[in-house]
């Protein structure tokens, strides 16, 4: 169990709790239960939790699978900086959000699950984990002309590049590049 990143499981648990909060809230509000305003609060809290938890953080070891379409939310969550990066804040935020929903039966399950998620986040924070966004790697645009190297300096038949390097190590006196050496450096004229 030593290598587990608790935050990943806490993230799944919190996302599930958010959905449960939303469902309980809809039931209470639509059924016009007593104290249904708590149901309305629960829907709002659930939506907030889901939006916050949807972008999965990056694992420290190994590759992370992104959730579908999470890059837009990642940008928003990243904006809050340390508020969302730090898991202590998340733990207490979830605990705080969970408490009011605990007074209505329809949403009490959401409260319990979110409280568990908050506990796991606290464990993650104690172990020093942090949320880091999954960023797409910038596509390296191929430099025009960058892959065109010096034209070969010896006539065919030519062994591959590694073989060409060997003779230069063995005999230091022979100029590199094989038998033919160009008198002036050759550049390609493509701009």
């Amino acid at each position: 169990m030593g290598q587990i990143e608790w935050a990943m499981w806490a993230n799944e648990q919190a996302l599930a709790s958010g959905l449960i909060l939303i469902t309980g809230g809809i039931v209470a509000t639509a059924g016009q239960f007593t104290q249904w305003y708590l149901g309305a609060y629960s829907i709002a809290a659930g939506v907030l939790v889901c939006l916050l938890e949807y972008p999965r953080g990056k694992r420290t070891k190994g590759s992370t699978m992104e959730r579908c379409g999470q890059k837009y939310l990642t940008r928003v969550v990243k904006l809050f900086g340390p508020l969302t990066r730090n898991y202590y804040i998340r733990a207490f935020l979830h605990l705080g959000l969970a408490v009011p929903a605990g007074f209505l039966l329809a949403t009490i399950l959401g409260t319990a699950c979110l409280a568990i998620a908050s506990g796991i986040y606290l464990l993650a924070a104690i172990r020093g984990e942090q949320w880091s966004p999954i960023e797409p790697k910038p596509k390296e645009r191929p430099q025009i002309g960058g892959t065109i190297k010096q034209p070969p300096s010896n006539p065919p038949p030519r062994p591959p590049a590694e073989a060409r390097k060997k003779p230069s190590e063995e005999a230091a006196g022979i100029p590199t590049g094989g038998p033919q050496e160009n008198p002036m450096p050759v550049n390609d004229e493509v701009v």
């Binding site: 990943m8 694992r59 039966l105 329809a106 009490i108 591959p160």
Partner: protein
Amino acid sequence: MLILLPVCRNLLSFLRGTCSFYRSTLRKQLDHNLAFHKLVGYMICLHTAIHIIAHLFNLERYSRSRQATDGSLASILSNLPHQENYSWLNPIQSPNTTVVYVTFTSIAGLTGVIITMALVLMVTSAMEFIRRSYFEVFWYTHHIFIIYFIGLGIHGLGGIVRGQTEESMAENHPHKCAEFFEKWDDPASHCKPPQFEGLPAESWKWILAPGILYIFERILRFYRSQQKVVITKVVMHPSKVLELQMHKHGFSMEVGQYIFVNCPSISNLEWHPFTLTSAPEEDFFSIHIRAVGDWTENLIRTFEKQYSPVPRIQVDGPFGTASEDVFQYEVAVLVGAGIGVTPFASILKSIWYKFQHADQNLKTQKIYFYWICREMGAFAWFNDLLASLEQEMEELGKVGFLNYRLFLTGWDSNFAGHAALNFDKANDILTGLKQKTFFGRPKWDNEFSTIATAHPKSAVGVFLCGPQTLAKSLSKCCCQYSSLDPRKVQFYFNKENF
């Protein structure tokens, strides 16, 4: 309770063995047990949600009825006295009791909340991402199903859902008497006040039999694991691959099966599956273990220590559908992609033994083996197997029996350069085998047409262990290159085997 049955793997093995006279397609459905388990799990979640929402509405209506003072049917029914057991309907006893209080003070409510939370924890830890990356969390958390089932059995004991008694239905049938509810107390009316009794708990009836089967399965697994496993040889291959050759009394295997392995010194509760790489004809069974996670790395490190005693290993198995169909075809085309090559180790060795002993059951005359790999490093041990097979075939003078082609799909210009440089050497520089490594993916059209022309009258069995996309292209080629004349070459694609 269908969720317990697919995970009783010893029971499934038993069923597979007794059903040997049935068609093998039926037996192969037993291989999809985990997919079935997940589907039933999703259904449990869905129905739990429906059940909870229904009871939420139920309790809310009870609460409203208790607080209603308008003399309606609902309030009369609610006010039925609580003193005797048979008369009350509304579990909410006073207008000041909240539904939350009722939930947490009744057996049904309390067990319901507990087991639903257990269910949520089980589901979140079983998400594919968590399962693949942090298996131990999934495995240990999933054991709270014990709490789930015990709670489920207790859940209905309180009799909080009440129905009218039989005698009461005779005296006060709702169709006749529901409209005259004001007159129930009147001794002159023909409707007496209705009597209700708690409906009995029923869920234990559903979970008893599968629960007993599952307990039996766990006891059986424990008993089998206590049987002595003797490790006869330990080989450390390059690229952190450990080969364990073992011997266990009464163990018999078929090709293509797998076993579960446990090492108590690393973890008491973890059992991990490994495909068997030895042939049934050998007097030991072997597995090859690659370091991919916590448990495997710990295992390899424990075995690497030379001066400490060899750790004890427990084995359960073998499981899985055997792949005997391989031996039924005159020409066999075996395609293994990446880690899919592991069951072929067992198959190739077995074919070779059968061929040497001129086994009558072996119809195979020629094998074409395609091994497609991104990088060879992790399967260097398979190279050794192929090399030894190559050598044995030369000694017996049957060089044409096994034709293999290795395809390296993750290559770069360095590889190509070295290959071009060593073009005229007899052995391949990457693998040391006589057959040169190809780069890139195989062109199946060429391969199939070559095989079809070489064996114009045979039944060719194509076996794949690899990704789904490859399965699609192979089955397409099989259809394309099978001749219309049933006497000529026919390709049969087998993808359910693995």
